[in-house]
Symmetry: D2
Subunit: 364 residues, 4 copies
Amino acid sequence: MSGVFGMNIKMSIYGESHGKAIGVVLDGLPPGLKLDEEAIAKEMARRAPGQSALTTARKEKDAVEIQSGFFEGYTTGTPLCARIVNGDQHSKDYSILKDKMRPGHGDYAGYVRYQGFNDYRGGGHFSARLTAPLVFAGAVAKQALAQYGIVIGAHIASVYDVQERSFNPMGESDATLQGLNAKAFPVLEDAVGAKMQERILQAKGELNSVGGVIELMATHVPAGIGAPYFDSLESRLSHVLFSVPAVKGIEFGDGFGFAALTGAEANDQLHYENGAVRGYTNHNGGITGGISNGMPLVFRVAMKPTPSISREQKTVSLSKHADTTLTIVGRHDPCIVQRAVPVIEAVTAWTLWDLILEAKKWEK
Amino acid sequence: MSGVFGMNIKMSIYGESHGKAIGVVLDGLPPGLKLDEEAIAKEMARRAPGQSALTTARKEKDAVEIQSGFFEGYTTGTPLCARIVNGDQHSKDYSILKDKMRPGHGDYAGYVRYQGFNDYRGGGHFSARLTAPLVFAGAVAKQALAQYGIVIGAHIASVYDVQERSFNPMGESDATLQGLNAKAFPVLEDAVGAKMQERILQAKGELNSVGGVIELMATHVPAGIGAPYFDSLESRLSHVLFSVPAVKGIEFGDGFGFAALTGAEANDQLHYENGAVRGYTNHNGGITGGISNGMPLVFRVAMKPTPSISREQKTVSLSKHADTTLTIVGRHDPCIVQRAVPVIEAVTAWTLWDLILEAKKWEK
Amino acid sequence: MSGVFGMNIKMSIYGESHGKAIGVVLDGLPPGLKLDEEAIAKEMARRAPGQSALTTARKEKDAVEIQSGFFEGYTTGTPLCARIVNGDQHSKDYSILKDKMRPGHGDYAGYVRYQGFNDYRGGGHFSARLTAPLVFAGAVAKQALAQYGIVIGAHIASVYDVQERSFNPMGESDATLQGLNAKAFPVLEDAVGAKMQERILQAKGELNSVGGVIELMATHVPAGIGAPYFDSLESRLSHVLFSVPAVKGIEFGDGFGFAALTGAEANDQLHYENGAVRGYTNHNGGITGGISNGMPLVFRVAMKPTPSISREQKTVSLSKHADTTLTIVGRHDPCIVQRAVPVIEAVTAWTLWDLILEAKKWEK
Amino acid sequence: MSGVFGMNIKMSIYGESHGKAIGVVLDGLPPGLKLDEEAIAKEMARRAPGQSALTTARKEKDAVEIQSGFFEGYTTGTPLCARIVNGDQHSKDYSILKDKMRPGHGDYAGYVRYQGFNDYRGGGHFSARLTAPLVFAGAVAKQALAQYGIVIGAHIASVYDVQERSFNPMGESDATLQGLNAKAFPVLEDAVGAKMQERILQAKGELNSVGGVIELMATHVPAGIGAPYFDSLESRLSHVLFSVPAVKGIEFGDGFGFAALTGAEANDQLHYENGAVRGYTNHNGGITGGISNGMPLVFRVAMKPTPSISREQKTVSLSKHADTTLTIVGRHDPCIVQRAVPVIEAVTAWTLWDLILEAKKWEK
């Protein structure tokens, strides 16, 4: 079981890369949320492929058809199903994958887990195509979070060996964060972004791929969201962030950098600022004791290089039970990082909303 | 809500640092599991404080009283409650904490979340004392995993600026991993371990604290455990690992190191070895597509320095709504890393068992 | 939240009576289950309207389009989405229902719950049309249960004042139960069934409606399915049975009849029969201590008369905040009982399968 | 798995009849709920045995020790564990039950489910003793519901062939309902209650037992609690009501009586009364479309006769794999109905609270 996520709002995803359609059922959405469908379409477009030389040549319009739960411009409060019809499929490209396991992909592990019955075409349900429904869910969540003034922005902190400045942990302006949302290649420093893009195109030219790091900041998150132990904000966020294909590392605030600090340096000492409790620093990335503390939420995720590369690689043939080689044909992203940015934002938005609803139960 | 974790086996923890007792209810345990109570006591002792100059002077025996679900030496299959009575409490040490929020702790965030009603003594439910029930749950899980031949070992990869060699991602011997379990200060290289301990004592002397990194390896994990998306092995593990106090970062396999590799370098190419599919490398730490792939499971967690230090720190007084300072008195760990090792192992064991039971549903 | 049901297999339903489509996502289905699509279509047809004078004149073909999770004739193990496009809608019939609450329906309660945002056309998400996805889920479950030899049959025990014989609690033959599945109006005694149908047509003629009782039997259910307390077989079954619109009562075995028995009469005394433990009687309907005991599972559900009747009824106008009257126009079932039979079977099959998968976790 | 119930507040029960202790962990309780411990003790006493000739001679004080989650008179919002130490056990009475299965009990079904490892003494975890933690959870919930003005009362509608008047479905006064709470043998008509008690003592004299029906009413339940389909108020309530040992039937409002009504009779027509929408009748027992509609909640549960009777009964010996007889010695309740009344109230209170918290998420 793996397709349902959330406590107070649950998303139930379905679909395979080369099936009829993919989609998601959102259960528990509050009634009366006005949905801006154009804003949703814009989020979908941010993730969609085929937009530049940096991404796969596959063209998927990712037009969302809402099936239910949406009436006269508002959520009804009953389950909202969003469906995206699959198109532009080259299923014949993939038939060899039934037998030869792609290195770095979930093919072999999935073969064992699904006893050979999973749809092998384009990775089937494992495909990053399934992140489209996540972006839809996140687009709805973002509109809900806007009611609370919460702003989410993310940038490409690094691609391979090219890296740009990190967010100021004490906070970035709304304009900066919203500006990132509007960029096709979301970076803080455009000159560095240009180098990153060069690096991606170089990898493409070499039939290779590269990974990178995405950093996200959410500001105006109220204090008191989350809990100690199993529903800590870090727990809930990391759970869904590691559900995004290719994510292999997560750190909140200083993260691995904490290991090189002493307590005296790492503790965020406190004071009042305009009547609110604030840290002098924000090493903890806005979370202490598993709960938001009113400082900006900051985390970083590491994404591995796209496993699909067009070079010959060593692998196994299951049918022959023998070693062999595989050269993956087809159209691939030399770097998944820029397309992952809206996905990372989306699952973050979904989870913040879920925990805000959790906190509402205890309101007097 | 935050106290229940697991899908097929659920643990429900309870308790506060200075309350009557802490404990855990384990629901869904298979009947007929013979429990070695001595082995459980040994695991509890690994986490318990008061064992050396490296840890807090508090002495908690952490004797577990099983209340239910255990009959004539075997689990019954009905809920097993384990209870640990609190002792050696100096509640008077903590009264000031009702008003002054400790920097780096969850005090302020928890004050908001719990509307001022949470037990502030020693951190209450936020206290790392609650990791004792986690260790108990893990000790039961480890005995179950032994049936499958799974071996879990962890070491202190670094303390502040002292670090030792990493695990060989292709696997360590059972003897090496089990040897770590037996060590009071689990390191691969004892000389480095000695330096780490020096570093901890130096921090203690300076009324300061240090953090570090723990690396865990689990070998003989069968391929096919986990799922893509929301129940990925990384998702389930990170969820519970970030529930452990002070954990601020997690990376599987190469983790953040992936960002500096190309796809050609990062992909674990495959071959048959003694009839089994194996990688030539294990950059992915034993997980691809969210599912175990038969290679050793490897991950690293970053732990921040203990926030409790005996230096004066700036903070706020809630009652006076004013800035103030706080010098925390009492007994603290100058480094939590070595005591966290069995906790990290425990929640890993619990989660692996949970996912193994998940996979059993689909057995023919 | 209300759209997700199941522990090991989860169904997530969506849709409204007059929306674009309705459907269900089935998560956790084991891979490799061969699906007979014709048999599924047959189950869908049993519930579909427009087949005789006994039911509403609405015609819905209820053709199921599987979107995902089904590949080359087998379930993949990843989420299976089934979609049914809505057709033959007369949305204009329903506009008055935004204001005037239909007596006996969930209109007013739903108005409050959904704050006036729910789709009022034809009951929207409350519509019994949503039982079509339940029948689909049950049709899949029935094919899985067939592997275990489990046979499920149900009959119309009564319609208004016409009642037929009950099942023999000691068991009915497979032929009898399967024969019921094949009948358009499933009764044990056709002569009584004819009277029931007359009674329904009489109600229709009088612009009225009638209810009734459905009795279900499942044979060859293995002993050991269920649990004491919260996952008792009665708990899980009643949960989902009361989710079926119009169900207002449930009794297992002798049910309310137990109140008129002494313990000496009511206890099912035991003996061995062909090596298996069996009761001399089956007052408990195959469940003791919340767990199946190897005897036939027997329960009865009471269904209220269809609330939609074409007579003038007293009700309220929300817009005018005043008393008024309402005459519901449109096409309605004078009796929902016969169409509910496959729904009752479906949710039972789903739940039995869920609990069988639960038990598999503990297999050695 | 079976020990955890609830969505927004979860209770996790543990314990066996003859183990060390039984108890419950309540997770998700809102912080700041002032608990009246005396009122809790009074509820516990209502269920406790040994109070009259009508009940078992076993004496269990059922003194609750709160372990956590309760601080300075208020709930903290962190898990609250309540523990009840077992006492007055005659474990030797029960040893034969390892081999001989008691008719009417869950012994054989449980033997299969738990593979022979469950604690057979006094029914172990299956024992109705586990309803003590349910009463505790309900006592907490009742105090929360009092904030909303909700009043819950229940009476013994029948014992064997003796029955008293039903609740007026349009509502009973607070005084009537609260008066029932205060009675040792809760009936509306004391003369009928005396006959019921005679009937119970007669059964006791005949080494026999009797069952009965409990009817519950909750008034001042706000409209809008519950949902269509899987979280219908009927679904959630029946789920937990069937978790109470010996419950075999449930009906809401007219329940099985609906089958004998026409739609014109059964529909609760509506009007305004003091500005609120009310039914002219309340056949639906306060629930339409799965959601509370503002009318009194009314339901009835059927309880079977206590299976433990001191007559010789036919059963099987598992060790000899042969038919045999069993005469159960020990102390038993000739009727469980009166002791079940506070349990039925308790699980109802818990579930209403859970669904009220659910509704709070959608408050503006």
